[in-house]
């Protein structure tokens, strides 16, 4: 096998429990996003667009959808003779079978994979962030600074700093301080969970971390602080574009709505930075005589006969005559029947909102999530997602 300069490892095992019923049956990176994509399309496409052709995807929670989605990686041009995409689930070893205990442990358990590729650098990514980023520029920066670790950072709003790993840098960009989820922070430079490591150093520190019984085996909590304390050269790489951690229902909804602006920060239509995905085999969508469509994204195979405003409609969805869909996300193959109304709703895959049913309310700020394969009977009213489990399920 040809020697690789940089291998990417995507951490895609998370349940994402804060996404509620969106991740009941699938891992967070497999959640549909943006009218045709799944969240993991973003890091995978970034890898492809950055010229990284060897990617390990570490899975754990409910991996079926993710595994079958990734397949041999051909959708991202990652079906290569040397390298390509490798799905890496946890596995049994002599005497024990263990789950990935933390982000660092997940990489540790796959050291043999990276050994096989023997790269100079390892790029560690999260599988659940929405952003377009050229990793090759970050790698260039890493080499130029002669860094041992480079962490990509972004300025976040001050009131959100407690959600992130926050760091301080000196004037050259060298990291002087790193605190995971601080209550009070000195800066608003947040780690994006994107790291480039010199492979030898990473290998050594993961082995040390493994032996440390007190460690929670997490990059942000344990490995990075330890490397910093040991005086290694850690540098920050400033990212200026759009980046969003879609960890909660609100941020997931917001990130979808962000795409609907006239000139969105994250441009899906940029021909020079395509986001690749498994494409639905569907005809172009059909807009009926009675339809009205504004400020929306609509995927293939949909038929739109009703009124859609400020919403994201995934492939194969149907919006019936007289239906109103506003500020909502309609997942693949969901059906909104005649005269049904959906406000600030996230309607799961293949769910059916029957005639005249109302999801959410016009002036309500809460987001209502309907799980996949749910039938909302006609004329029912759903104000939050507490009701959904009582509905009958369709196969």
């Amino acid at each position: 096998m040809r020697k690789k300069e940089c291998v990417a490892m995507i951490l895609a095992g998370g349940q994402g429990s804060r996404l509620g019923s969106l991740t009941q049956k699938i891992a967070k990176p497999a959640v549909p996003f943006g009218g045709k994509y799944r969240i993991i399309d973003f890091p995978l496409s970034n890898c492809h667009n950055s010229g990284i052709d060897t990617v390990g995807v570490l899975t754990q929670y409910r991996p079926l959808a993710l595994h079958s989605y990734i397949g041999i990686g051909s959708s991202w041009d990652l079906d290569r003779r040397d390298g390509g995409v490798y799905v890496l689930p946890p596995y049994a070893q002599e005497g024990s079978a263990e789950w990935y205990k933390g982000t660092a442990d997940a990489i540790y358990q796959n050291l043999n994979f990276i050994d096989m590729m023997n790269p100079n650098y390892v790029l560690v990514l999260s599988g659940d962030h929405i952003y377009n980023m050229d990793y090759s520029l970050m790698l260039e920066h890493h080499k130029k600074q002669k860094a041992e670790v480079t962490i990509s950072v972004i300025e976040v709003p001050w009131h959100e700093v407690s959600r992130f790993g926050i760091m301080n840098t000196n004037t050259t960009g060298r990291i002087t301080e790193f605190v995971e989820k601080p209550k009070e922070a000195k800066s608003n430079l947040a780690s994006m969970g994107i790291y480039i490591f010199n492979w030898r150093l990473l290998r050594k520190s993961l082995e040390e971390d493994r032996k440390n019984a007190l460690s929670s085996h997490d990059f942000g909590k344990d490995v990075i602080p330890k490397l910093l304390a040991d005086g290694h050269r850690l540098y920050a790489y400033y990212f200026k574009g759009y980046w969003k951690d879609v960890g909660t229902v609100e941020s997931f909804w917001e990130a979808n709505m962000d795409l609907l602006e006239d000139d969105p920060q994250l441009d899906l239509h940029n021909p020079n930075w395509r986001v690749y995905s498994v494409n639905a085999t569907r005809p172009p969508h059909y807009v009926g005589v009675t339809a009205s469509l504004t400020r929306s994204l609509v995927g293939e195979g949909c038929s739109i006969l009703g009124e859609v405003d400020h919403s994201v409609i995934f492939p194969g969805a149907h919006i019936g005559k007289g239906a109103v869909v506003k500020d909502s996300i309609i997942m693949p193959y969901a059906t909104i029947c005649e005269n049904a109304h959906v406000y600030r709703g996230i309607i799961g895959r293949k769910s059916l909102v029957e005639r005249g049913a109302v999801i959410g309310a016009k002036d309500q700020l809460e987001i209502t999530v309907i799980e996949e394969n749910i039938v909302i009977p006609s004329n029912a009213q759903v104000l939050d997602n507490s009701m959904i489990s009582t509905q009958k399920q369709v196969g």
Binding site: R282, P284, V287, L297, E300, G301
Partner: protein, 371 residues
Amino acid sequence: MQNVMGIINLNEGQDLLKELTKGRPLAALPFGGRYRLVDFMLSNMVNSGMQNVGILVHDKYRALMDHLRSGKDWDLARKRDGLFILPPNQNPCSPGGCRGNIENFYNNLDYIESSRQEYMLIAGGHIVCNLNYRKVFKFHQDTGADITVLYKEDDVEEDISQYAILDCQPDGRIVDMGIISQKTTSRKVSMEMYIIKKSLLVELIKDCHTRGGWDFVKDVLIKNVNQLKMFGFPYKGYIARIDSIKNYYRHNMELLKPEKWEELFFRSGLVYTKVKDEAPVKYKENARAFNTMVANGCIIEGRVENSILFRGVKVHKGAYIKDSIIMQKCEIAENAIIENVICDKNVCITKGKWLKGETNYPLVVEKGTII
């Protein structure tokens, strides 16, 4: 159906669709918002369970090869069998134009003979339909026919004079076959799709070639109506013959009827095509769209009515598109108005321009034109 190989025979003598087929074979003509004509036939074959398909091409076939590549998008990139482009010999055409399809068949006989399938399904590249051949193949075996010809009764086409008309007995046996004449009462129009045993085809082609024949329909089928056991299979579903600008326009527009859309794209199988990874369609604040089919990658700010937009079309503010077909990556600038127009790929209609054709004579704008 694994025992049937497919041959798509792109036999076109002249540029039937003028500007639209100037630089591409008819089979590579964009259709239905994101497809090329050949996609329908390939998908039919693949959905029927066939896995060996050869395409007999004549000239200008680069556009087609671009589109098909390895055949991966139709699941035809296989270790054995799969998709094969069967090019013509170096100089297949006499100065007066192509002499017909027998010569091309003959030149590729070695490929056809060496394939491991016992039967062949031969089809043209200009008929759009969504049909499963399993029933036809069973019919072929049940009747013990030498050749089964698919036909469509009461074809909606205004001009069927270039297609063979079949005269069948009640059991389907073909007693006569010919080009339409005043005496013809039958409306059973050949779909130019045939099932035949491979060994018989090879024999017929060789025989025809040695006698100097060059047209498959006239010299092989019609001349042998009495010698061979030929049966007609009636096809009842949707079919669109594309052989003129007029019917190309009309059939595209027909897809705006939801029942036709449903039938062509879903009824008996999905239609595959080359994947382009375009983003979902973006409708902006002032977008208006009615009775319209829109493919991925489009950005719509203007008004679109009764039209078909292919992938990656941009419709700017104040632009108005009516009764038109806009192919891939066209741009309709601010306040431009177009009506009854077919824009080939990469056309740009600049600010404020006004273009109008007629329903029975749509205006065709050639590929890459800036107006």
